[in-house]
């Protein structure tokens, strides 16, 4: 992914990362920790215990008003009207071409209020797109009651992920505090602003994401880190976040999602409600569905000893180049190379034998069903 020029945003947790000796890298216009103690140890902590991630780079937009649900049904693919207050879901923002501008989580905070959590790399574009579409929407008959607030600078973010997340939660928020179940949202009002607690994550493990006001972030980080450490966990960087999400086959915008491919090609049809009244990109998706998908985002596993697969390596079938890897890594849990690529539909069926070109040498691979890794169920709660 290309990095925008200019000074990088610093996380409100920057000093905490420095104190922990984190290795910092530029990511989506931010300087963020890629690892603390080591990627493999951090990955293992999330799969076996618990990990704490800084996700303050992610953006937040609050959409409110009587028109909020109808407006979101126009700009997003999933059906916002199906969300009850306190529920959230994964959804996508498309252009009319059907290409993906961003993937995000939409939470319904109340009847007329939705929180969108968007990718850092697309924050500015998303905001511009949403603001432009809202301007158009307000010109509709009865469309005026719609407000958008860009909260990205006001919210820090932390993700707590792993089978011991629940124990961390109760250590920090108290034994009686209600656990945010998967895809639910709890909002707690504090004197410094709202605390958003979301039962979501990007690792496949049980966990929650927590968006407190920026000024309070360092104190929350310290409390969460203490609880995570007591539970045998680790602070984790973007390196482990990437290997964890790829083991689950979760797409990363900019790698696996782009304006070049539709959510149907990405295998995200479950998060697209083609039946709802018109939304941006709907026509393109309906046409693509009726014509058949040209390509599919396919899971690929390397066979035997091979270098880690990486984005842009070419996928071959005999003498035919089929495409390039959109994501790839050595899976720390499975100890083999895993990758994803948009392959012509005819080659995307699980069990198709392929080769990956790595530095001029071909390594055997095969297509597999995603996810690559199946998380262990968390231990039953005492």
């Amino acid at each position: 992914m290309s990095e925008p020029s200019g000074p990088l945003h610093l996380s409100p947790l920057h000093a905490a990362h420095a104190a922990l000796g984190a290795r910092m890298v530029p990511f989506a216009g931010w300087e963020m920790p890629v690892q603390y103690s080591g990627l493999l140890a951090e990955h293992a902590a999330v799969r076996g215990a618990v990990g704490l991630f800084d996700i303050s780079h992610m953006g937040q937009v609050l959409v409110s008003g009587q028109q909020a649900a109808d407006f979101l049904n126009h700009v997003l693919t999933n059906n916002a009207a199906h969300l009850q207050p306190g529920q959230g879901h994964y959804t996508l923002m498309l252009l009319p071409s059907g290409g993906v501008l961003d993937d995000l989580i939409a939470y319904r905070a109340s009847e007329r209020e939705f929180l969108l959590v968007i990718n850092a790399a697309r924050e500015a574009e998303d905001w511009r797109h949403l603001a432009d579409e809202a301007d158009l929407w307000r010109q509709r008959e009865d469309g005026e009651d719609l407000r958008l607030s860009r909260l990205s600078d006001q919210c820090a973010g932390m993700a707590i992920q792993g089978p011991r997340s629940r124990r961390v939660f109760h250590r920090v928020f108290g034994e009686q505090a209600p656990w945010p179940e998967r895809n639910t949202l709890l909002v707690s009002l504090s004197e410094t602003g709202p605390l958003w607690l979301c039962g979501t994550g990007y690792t496949g493990e049980e966990g929650f994401e927590f968006f407190p006001p920026t000024a309070t972030a360092p104190a929350w980080w310290d409390r969460l880190l203490e609880a995570v450490t007591e539970e045998g966990g680790l602070p984790c960087g973007l390196g482990a976040r990437d290997t964890l999400r790829l083991e689950m086959g979760y797409p990363l915008n900019g790698n696996d999602l782009s304006l070049e491919h539709t959510p149907l090609e990405a295998g995200l049809g479950f998060f697209v409600d083609l039946e709802k009244p018109s939304f941006i990109g709907q026509q393109a998706l309906v046409e693509q569905k009726s014509c058949g998908l040209p390509s599919r985002l396919t899971g690929i596993e390397l066979i035997g000893t091979a270098p880690p697969p990486r984005p842009h390596y070419t996928v071959w079938k005999g003498d035919q180049p089929l495409g390039e890897l959109s994501s790839g890594t050595l899976s720390p849990s499975l100890r083999r190379g895993i990758a994803m690529a948009y392959l012509p539909t005819a080659f995307s069926k699980p069990g198709t034998e392929l080769e990956i070109d790595i530095r001029g040498r071909r390594y055997p691979a095969r297509t597999v069903k995603k996810p690559f890794y199946h998380p262990q169920p968390p231990p039953s709660q005492p």
Binding site: R23, V34, L39, L40, T243, P307, P308, L330, R359
Partner: protein, 126 residues
């Protein structure tokens, strides 16, 4: 603080070589292994290959990145560390002994003495 061993010579790209040995072992420094982080794959040159000084001859890969390793001197590859195919982490845990990469028979037995000594390499990574 990274370890730098007195008896070795160093290339600016962080390889070490045993001087006045033939064949001479080559590896990457403690500083380099720490910078590269968890090493998960090592690709080594073919035994018998003649390489030029400064030629990219091996690749050391962490989960995040692949890094070229350069021959500190010209010569013929005489052995490779087979243990690294099953245990690449030896480069992290023991970069100067168990984690050596390959042995080279230098064309010029004194070539390595032209590289940085320990004091100069310490300066280089300071």
């Amino acid at each position: 603080m990274s370890t730098v061993l007195e008896h070795l010579r160093y290339r600016d790209s962080h390889e070490w070589i045993e001087p006045s040995q033939s064949p001479a072992a080559v590896g990457i420094t403690d500083h380099a292994q720490a910078e590269l982080t968890d090493i998960v794959f090592v690709e080594l040159p073919g035994v018998g290959r003649h390489v030029a000084a400064g030629e990219a001859v091996a690749v050391v890969e962490s989960v995040k990145a692949a890094s070229d390793i350069y021959a500190p001197v010209a010569g013929v590859i005489s052995a490779i560390n087979d243990q690294l195919s099953t245990n690449p982490g030896l480069v992290n845990s023991d970069p100067f002994t168990e984690g050596w990469l390959f042995r080279i028979t230098p064309d010029d037995p004194s070539a390595a003495t032209a590289l940085m000594d320990a004091a100069a390499y310490r300066q280089h990574i300071a």
